[in-house]
Amino acid sequence: MTETALYGLCAAGLVGLGLFGLIVQPHPLRKILAFNLIGSGVFLLFGVVARRGAAAGLGGDPVPQALVITGLVVAFAATALAVALLLRLFQETGRTTLRSDG
């Protein structure tokens, strides 16, 4: 197995772990963390694809790399919005539960 494939396995593990956390963890902030973990795994898959596409004197295919940079920035924006929503929910109700009957 090559090093690149090893990081592919790592990416798969991150996605699985993140998904598990998203389902199991009740606290919304933990869900945000878990969602970011899924994101990291997906970005890493892109990184593996980019590395495999190394050609023309470059260490990797620049197109997936640029996509990951775009993705990281958008993921940050989404995280910031989610955190703001959560803080507002807490401010309004004093709770962080997502259950409507809670």
């Binding site: 090093e3 494939a5 090893l6 990081y7 592919g8 396995l9 790592c10 990416a11 798969a12 996605v15 699985g16 772990l17 993140g18 598990f20 956390g21 389902i23 199991v24 009740p26 606290h27 919304p28 902030l29 933990r30 963390l33 973990l37 990291s40 890493l44 898959l45 990184g47 593996v48 495999r52 596409g53 190394a54 050609a55 023309a56 470059l58 990797g60 295919d61 620049p62 197109v63 790399q65 640029a66 990951v68 940079i69 775009t70 990281l72 920035v73 958008v74 924006a77 995280t79 910031a80 919005l81 955190v83 703001a84 803080l87 507002r88 807490f90 709770r95 962080t96 539960t97 259950r99």
Partner: protein
Amino acid sequence: MAFDIVLVLLVIGVAVWTIAARDTFAAVIGFVALGLLLTLVWVRLAAPDVALTESALGSGLTGGLLLGASARLACSEATASDEEPGAILQLIAAVLCALMSAGLVALVLLLPQPAPTLAPQAVANIAATGLGNPVTAVLMAYRAIDTLLEVVVLLLALVGIWSLAPDRVWGGLPGPRRHADPNGLLTFIAQLLVPIGILVGIYIFWVGSVAPGGEFQGATILAAMWVLASMAGLVDAPSVSGRRLRLMLAVGPAVFFAIGLTGFATAGAFLAYPEAHAKALILTIEVPLTLSIAATLALLVAGPPERASGR
């Protein structure tokens, strides 16, 4: 290879900690550590541009944001812990997630040989853009529309956050007012690091046209330095309804869009650059864009208005 195995084990271990830690604050620290480790992974995957973004944005700024939020929500943990799903449900979820991972592993191992790549095309046309860094060329020239829309997404997220403000502080100032302690340690750290950080941010932005770096990485560092100064109480957040602030946020995307439109006249397509002036035009876009991105990122961390503006 040994290095890669240690690194992957460490990444997976810290990821497990992030998911399984009891305390939310501890989990967030795990997440920040994970970001720092992923920076090493990106370097190993020969993607220094991504490594720069990951260390600055994925770990640094996201970490600061989540740490602040977890500290504010510290007293809410007890209410959430009794909602944890039962053991059977957890087991089912674990099995399903393991299946998902296994599917992805199969996918990684079955990727086509030889791998498809756009690297030769990216290199072949890079002379026309006047840039030396292929990743910047993708972001600013080949796929400029993605970058334009991404900046718009950032602005939309900021509008979304601002609209969460209660009526009485509408258009006010984000975050609590922090007062600087003139002899305090934090003041000293901020006074020491912020100027260095601004210099590094400008350097990373400037070097982006020929080497790894660029507007997003540079802007993130600038934003982080503003957040650091505001944590120390050296600067106060501006009123979100201020005209100068709004102008600063909009100037980058506006210049980008305007130059994109002139592409119809000069090069026959939206966001196309005439070959002779490509580098100058890209630079004209990048400078205001960096400013706008930095301001947007900093305000995304600052959150919705919490104080009415003084006027």
